[in-house]
Symmetry: D2
Subunit: 265 residues, 4 copies
Amino acid sequence: SPTPLIIAGPCVLETEDVALKIGQFMKEVAEKAGFLYCFKASFDKANRTSISSYRGPGLEKGLKILDTIKKELNCPVLSDIHEPYQAEVCKGVLDCIQIPAFLSRQTDLIVAAGNTGLPVNIKKGQFMAPWDMKHSVKKVESTGNNAIMLTERGTQFGYNNLVVDMRSIPLMKQLGVKVIFDATHSVQLPGGGDGCSSGQREFAPLLARAAFCAGADGVFLEVHVDPEKALCDGPNSLYLHQAEKLLMDLKKINEIRREFVDVAS
Amino acid sequence: SPTPLIIAGPCVLETEDVALKIGQFMKEVAEKAGFLYCFKASFDKANRTSISSYRGPGLEKGLKILDTIKKELNCPVLSDIHEPYQAEVCKGVLDCIQIPAFLSRQTDLIVAAGNTGLPVNIKKGQFMAPWDMKHSVKKVESTGNNAIMLTERGTQFGYNNLVVDMRSIPLMKQLGVKVIFDATHSVQLPGGGDGCSSGQREFAPLLARAAFCAGADGVFLEVHVDPEKALCDGPNSLYLHQAEKLLMDLKKINEIRREFVDVAS
Amino acid sequence: SPTPLIIAGPCVLETEDVALKIGQFMKEVAEKAGFLYCFKASFDKANRTSISSYRGPGLEKGLKILDTIKKELNCPVLSDIHEPYQAEVCKGVLDCIQIPAFLSRQTDLIVAAGNTGLPVNIKKGQFMAPWDMKHSVKKVESTGNNAIMLTERGTQFGYNNLVVDMRSIPLMKQLGVKVIFDATHSVQLPGGGDGCSSGQREFAPLLARAAFCAGADGVFLEVHVDPEKALCDGPNSLYLHQAEKLLMDLKKINEIRREFVDVAS
Amino acid sequence: SPTPLIIAGPCVLETEDVALKIGQFMKEVAEKAGFLYCFKASFDKANRTSISSYRGPGLEKGLKILDTIKKELNCPVLSDIHEPYQAEVCKGVLDCIQIPAFLSRQTDLIVAAGNTGLPVNIKKGQFMAPWDMKHSVKKVESTGNNAIMLTERGTQFGYNNLVVDMRSIPLMKQLGVKVIFDATHSVQLPGGGDGCSSGQREFAPLLARAAFCAGADGVFLEVHVDPEKALCDGPNSLYLHQAEKLLMDLKKINEIRREFVDVAS
């Protein structure tokens, strides 16, 4: 669909109440902007920097919360998996399965996701060239599933920093898939000495607008009612009012970009 | 001035005729877009990859051509210097002196440029962090000259490649200067085995729009009547019609960006 | 042990015969050099670039071959796991469990490896700063297992290239673990258009010697009787005679390095 | 000559007395190690980060000090130039002219240095691929001068950091020139907020040994009687006793490396 997609929610599921509040708000904002909305949250953060970090409610409880959100808000829900067996378990609830960036080359995981028949969103590894994502795309296609999205979320740039190469958007679109821009993970400062990734929330809207201007089919955002108290990725998560302002800006860009997107590719 | 600036012209001066043709075209297009126009061309490419490459007409002949353009087109002209003594020589003709990226830390050169009292445009070195440009800014300011622009032109990303970090635009604006985005040098593929830099012209408009969306105060473009035959930087130079289309796109972005630029900083 | 460790073998298990031939040769060479030898091969390459690449004999068959090698050659054997459940299955055969670089932050996998009580060798992710590996180390330690090695295998440097930062060796040694240098993966050229990583075998000995000189406790090598026909990583695998020459060089460096290693840290 | 070269001295000329003390010490140490010694110091640091940093005694006074050192110590002296006219002025005193890394593509400067007939040492730009240095080499050769050295001094790696790619040593040797490794500039942390580059002195010996092991024809070191009080590059300069220990280590590596250098190329 040419209508842009907004994938947004908290980084990780906390309480059902918080998730519903965030989802409710984002759904309304997305509608106001004329965009499709998909709720997003992880049930398990399997690769947190530190072993003592909060990981989430786990698969079973997490799916239950996601199912509630899906029904209450009447919107599609997305979550990420970390082991192949989880794909089948998630099938009944999720509308889209996401492959984390570090796992963007794990064949069994991608094939398991593809086999569900659900749309698969693969985050581009921080260590991957845009053109090399074609191999991950082919791994999904090998299952007969062609509903594929690729998500740009920044590329490693020296130690503890990421850079967004805007060329990756048209380059990945050339692979025949939808390209999403993950604005909040792209402003992470990975690692660091204190056991969790830091982030530069202040740059997320700017990068989202630039990427949208560069032709992204959708935007991925981590938002929270209170980022300072979020149990994961607080420093790069947006406040609800920031996400709302951003979507209104993207709406304006969307109205004018149609004619110049073609020049880019 | 809040009116965006378009610095554009051939990479290097060839004949007066070609320069005039390009300048005439770009001036009209800039006016149509409502932007300020400044003609740009080098009189000497002092750092060409290969010793056998065309370098330009030299200082004296070059200034003569620039002076003609300035008078014929009634527009400001910009060129770059490579040795301190050139600053004073150029003073009577140029409206803006540019410091090349490789030379962005050369104290004497920057001070000589500052001493002319003319606006100074320093290209950010491919090896510089945006925040470190403050030292180059201070070198100009030490001469009592506060008319300073910084130009983003890509950062080294592995060998033979550049990446544009859009965060650099707000970061350099925080230094209290105007920030220009050089769309055509940013798509260079530096070096290579054949003695000249190659380029990806196809990404220049996309990056220019994204940077404009990210708050750039102006755009720098190399344009040519026939890029395939340009004596320098052909592979990344834009055709006249591409530059025209791009300026019309930037005009539209400019109309909507005022309200979202503030969110970025 | 202050005796250097040589982990070497084919990238992936092919036939038992080939594995034995390589292991036999390397064991003798290691003994000649006065180094400890550990056989290495993967039973499953779970993250090959392309879905159509050879992946190996699988867990069950692979462990059988590894068990044969262990008994026939009377030497320790190492292999890598990709899902947590594999750790327990491998426990009876392996002497050391390896965590692949892309998976170097996956908490469950590292904890499962740690829980076996076997030494764990974590490859540093291509996207990780040396100091950030302390979090992966702590994940192993959380199981009460302190037999930990970290392996340097190159860091992403632009697209499709890796660079070895020799500072990472003393930096990771400061974490209180043994540091191995993987000479053959460090010369991979990741990705590329043709569905498999290319490599620069010619630089592997040079980097191994430099890393050994910089204090590496051991060296990891992929070797093959016929790299041109290897089913995985042929372009960066060493010929047997190259591996032999390299070990003789490392022996000489080992004899003189004791006194200068301390200066490094 | 197959005898390794040690280029060492203070970053910038301070007093004649300090320069002589450092040169005297390093000459004796180099002789003890069986290496050729060349004194090195800048007369003008033309690209200091901040405009308020100490730049040196200037061309005239600096050459006088260098001339004294040359005669008193009876050893060759090297310094770097920043503008073409300086080459001819330096000709009577210097034994080797150095081109700074940022200026490694400036055609006029390199040609002027070549025209003196003196050996020319070009530092590889932090933004250059090793193979692209062939163009700078050709610029010297265009003057009929074939006495050329290239110096590795680290490559930009993200912001405010450098990495040494040891592959550059054999790659640049393939251009038919001598390759020097600059151990102390390679551990600079360029830029930074406080107006001068910081550095990691502790890694300089380790990198020097690794580079020597990788085939470097010589080593370049900044040394000072009191690095904490050095007027330039103190944080990456070595204490005299550290430089002495390092040369003794390099001597040992030199004795064994002859046979393995060939394997590298």
